[in-house]
Symmetry: C2
Subunit: 181 residues, 2 copies
């Protein structure tokens, strides 16, 4: 059995656009970088996911500077990168068949954002039969207004989404817990 | 173009098991029944989804009485029913190809639970290209403890999940709004 792959989702400059609102976990990128170093040192599999938005107003459109992956987790030339146009890293990509070819059964998921692409990819990875670990302090999300008109902070949304995902789709751990294993 | 299909997810007796904790929206089943009557009267497409759990401890195992669909939304013999073993109604079923065959492009989603099968199916339906309406008062969820040890009420989790889904994956509406359209 192959070692767990580190799946790094949508860590792109455009997600710092102020119009997306306040974000939690400012240290998330530093934690992703610590995990990425560890995975590289131990020659475990690493997979990068990038969002090429087809929405007219999105800062993640491929023709905009916001599409670029942040320096902290910039892929090396020999690390696989899958581009997607929707939230799930498994829809419209060959990620599922790639994981099966590589005999990868476990994923450690980090990236942006907890509410959208990270949650959707975590849910689908689990439902496709992969064993998923989600790293609570190497993911983050933005504040949002509810359908009831209430404003929810990024931290509230992040914690509640982790509560909904944990034990149903994944095991939630911190960066330190993973690096100490 | 075919009219929107009503997709009724996992409205099964076992989800009333007290070990799942307190639930919000006690009127959700009555609202589902109102929508189902309306869909039947107007001869719009109706699709039932049932969870056949493979988890040893689940009240939704096919050999248990909790697997049974509740009386309020019991399928008629000529209404299609897809059985699944994971959260997403699209994984391990022919639902996607059925919708394409029937030229159904829009879904109105109701059922249980907001946090798990409803959210996962909504996210995946949207990412597969379907136009999704989620009915806020014809879905419901259970209370849950976060990875931070905090207890979250069913209503908080429900409202936050709707906030995360709305406008990104679906349009959230009430039963009354849909019936008045």
């Amino acid at each position: 059995m192959t070692e767990p792959a580190l799946l790094i989702i949508d860590v792109q400059k455009g997600l710092d656009d102020p119009k997306l609102g306040k974000r939690n976990n400012p240290q998330a990128e530093a934690n992703m970088a610590r995990l990425l170093s560890d995975w590289r040192e131990n020659k475990r599999p690493i997979i990068h996911i990038k969002h090429n938005s087809v929405e007219p107003q999105s800062p993640l459109r491929p023709d905009l500077p916001g599409n670029e992956i942040k320096d902290e987790v910039k892929p090396l030339a020999d690390e696989p990168l899958f581009s997607k146009t929707v939230n799930s890293a498994f829809i419209g990509t060959n990620l599922e068949s790639y994981l099966h070819e590589q005999k990868i059964e476990s994923l450690v998921i980090v990236g942006l954002t907890t509410a959208h692409c990270v949650s959707t990819s975590t849910r689908m990875a689990a439902n496709l039969g992969f064993n998923v670990t989600l790293v609570s302090d190497a993911t983050a999300t933005h504040e949002r207004v509810g359908v009831n008109g209430r404003s929810y902070s990024a931290e509230e949304l992040h914690e509640m989404e982790l509560a909904m995902l944990n034990e149903e789709f994944c095991a939630v751990h911190t960066t330190d817990e993973l690096l100490q294993q």
